[in-house]
């Protein structure tokens, strides 16, 4: 007797249908797409204008208020770095775990990672004030024979983010090559010429697959520790100092869990409308969103625990400075940010225990917006709120948020969405080759698809 096994991860199309369906996403864009793209460009232009004003007038336009000299820009930097982590988790770690549900969603999350890191990389440069000498951060021979201080976590961060960006981009491009060749073989004219150039001579020969499969596996293995290391290094930017609220050993795992949580939030924000706009409902099903929601629940619960531990450790340590910092997070002048973080992250994520919510895309989309907001507030609370009450009470101050902060923040979203939307119409957002790998070829006497 043959058992009928329900395999929701296995695509129902044939090989040819997969190519056709994904190719369909690259056709003439709809009006909704153009509206979204123009909206993103408009937001980017707001950021560009603000940046030009910052260059002209200086950082005084931003809301830096001593002692809070790391505020909205560094908050937004950490936010965007965190967003990228879900992409690498889904594309590399779940690849090594042979998790089948990742196949449909990993390409768009990988692209999201690259664009999020590109966005994040703007912020240290904006924040340093004299952007034209940003290369002073890099170790190169200079006139005074000085080298960077490699004991500083800020320099570790330069290396961590440069590596993360390079490896994520490489991983994305390598994964795209076989898919681009499939498109090359279907289109004509100038599009054929362009896709032919990007396909790097790929034909899908046995020798190419043999080296590709192994190379991709090793790339995934190398990218995997980056998921843990990059945000750990970012967390040490704070934890290595002695500011109350920063100096905690919990910071690295706490930041990594938060990064993955925020990244999946952004994945949901992007994919739920995208599947509708690109008509991918039959490929991205409730099954995939249910799994994404379960990952959100897991990482959200870890965050819940981390928040509770932070407060517990502050109380249990008996350290007056730590206790004051955490008391002020909840009941001080920035209480609204502290409670936004706890409600949006710790409590809203717990709604995902219910399957009805996990498979309701409208509910998931709304929750994802809360996650994005909550995770931005989390970084703002950690950075700005901690700095606002350090060891000298007479220096305490609440940071201001000016139009220049808002302008750059809005511009960063525009910059990110603009790249993502352009990518979604130019390259396949669903991995053709990996989906085909899951579909058995037909056999002489039946079977296969």
């Amino acid at each position: 007797m043959t058992a009928i096994v329900h395999e929701p991860h296995r695509p129902t199309q044939t090989h040819a249908e997969v190519t056709r369906d994904v190719l369909g996403t690259l056709g003439t864009p709809s009006r909704g797409y153009y509206m979204a793209l123009f909206g993103a460009i408009a937001m980017f232009l707001v950021g560009l204008f603000t940046f030009v004003m910052l260059l002209k007038e200086g950082l005084g336009l931003a809301g830096y208020t001593p002692p809070v000299m790391w505020s909205v820009y560094i908050t937004t930097f950490v936010f965007w770095i965190g967003i990228g982590h879900a992409g690498t988790l889904i594309s590399a770690i779940l690849f090594l775990f042979r998790s089948p549900w990742r196949t449909v969603v990993y390409r768009s999350t990988e692209a999201m990672t690259v664009f999020a890191v590109m966005t994040a990389a703007l912020f240290p440069i904006i924040h340093i004030g004299r952007q034209w000498i940003f290369y002073w951060l890099l170790p190169y021979p200079n006139a005074r024979f000085l080298w960077p201080n490699f004991k500083s976590p800020l320099i570790w961060d330069v290396f961590a983010i440069t590596t993360y960006f390079t490896v994520s981009t490489t991983f994305l491009i390598v994964g795209l090559v076989p898919d681009v060749s499939a498109i090359r073989d279907k289109v004509t004219g100038w599009r054929h010429t362009i896709y032919k150039m990007f396909s790097l001579g790929w034909t899908g020969s046995d020798n190419q697959w043999r080296n590709y499969s192994k190379g991709y596996l090793y790339l995934a293995a190398l990218a995997t520790p980056l998921v843990l290391s990059v945000h750990s290094v970012v967390s040490w930017d704070f934890a290595m100092s002695i500011i109350p609220g920063w100096h905690g050993t919990i910071f690295a795992p706490y930041f990594v869990a938060g990064a993955i949580y925020s990244g999946i939030g952004m994945v949901l924000t992007l994919l739920i409308p995208l599947r509708k706009v690109l008509k991918l409902e039959h490929m991205m099903t409730d099954y995939h969103f249910d799994n994404l929601a379960k990952l959100t629940l897991l990482t959200g619960s870890i965050l819940f625990y981390a928040y509770a531990m932070e407060y517990f450790v502050a109380w249990y340590s008996g350290n007056a400075f730590e206790q004051t910092t955490f008391w002020r997070r909840a009941f001080g002048p920035m209480w609204w940010a502290g409670w936004s973080m706890i409600i949006c992250n710790a409590f809203v994520s717990q709604l995902l225990w219910f399957k009805k919510i996990r498979t309701n895309l409208t509910a998931l989309f709304i929750i994802s917006i809360f996650i994005n907001l909550g995770m931005w507030f989390e970084r703002y609370v950690i950075i700005a709120s901690s700095l606002s009450n350090d060891y000298l009470p007479q220096a305490w101050a609440v940071p201001a948020v000016t139009w220049a902060d808002w302008g750059i923040l809005i511009g960063s979203f525009g910059w990110f969405f603009m790249y993502f939307l352009l990518f979604a119409r130019t390259f396949p957002v669903v991995a053709i080759q990996e989906i085909k790998e899951m579909i058995p070829y037909p056999r002489k006497h039946g079977g296969g698809h």
Binding site: P139, A160, T170, T203, S205, R210, L222
Partner: protein
């Protein structure tokens, strides 16, 4: 300069077991230099071809080792090149440099892996070998380089195995 066509026979298969039968049959007749095209990697085809494991891993290993060494060497050398004594602490301290060495291990390892994939994939030139765009869609292709006088026998073998289309090139 126009690429010289490699003489041979190109067959297209819809069924994977037919392609595997053809590969097995060709190898038993002494044809070793086959090129098999497919839209995705397939274990049955890999098993029939029985290629040795890819050497990409060597590139990854060398890249990783070079990156790790470069990370420690750069940080330690730069620390002693301009020694700054702070609070009596050691000048060159390998523990914090692990972060840099780790990142460079991953960076060099990844870039060398990609270089290895490109170099090894190009090691066997596909120039002049026949190709059909359907192979990136849903067909499996087998190209058998052979002299024109061997082509009829190869064609017969491929058709018998279940090929849906066989064409002779460069005859």
């Amino acid at each position: 300069m126009a690429t010289k066509t490699v003489p041979g026979v190109l067959a297209s298969f819809l069924q994977v077991d037919a392609a595997v039968d053809a590969i097995t049959g060709l190898k038993s007749k002494g044809f070793r230099d086959l090129t098999v095209y497919s839209a995705a990697p397939n274990h049955e085809i890999d098993a029939a071809l029985d290629h040795p494991i890819s050497w990409v891993r060597l590139f990854t290993l060398i890249g990783g080792l070079v990156g790790c060494t470069a990370g420690f060497a750069m940080t330690i050398w730069m620390s002693y090149d301009w020694p700054l004594l702070v609070g009596g602490k050691p000048i060159g301290t390998p523990v914090p440099y692990v972060a840099i060495a780790f990142e460079l291990t991953v960076l060099y390892g990844s870039l060398c892996t990609v270089a290895g994939m490109i170099i090894l994939s190009r090691a066997k030139s596909l120039k002049g070998r026949a190709y059909n765009p359907l192979f990136s869609d849903d067909r499996i292709g087998i190209f058998v380089p052979c002299a024109p006088e061997q082509a009829p026998a190869v064609r017969e073998l491929l058709a018998h195995a279940g090929s849906e289309e066989v064409t002779v090139h460069g005859a």
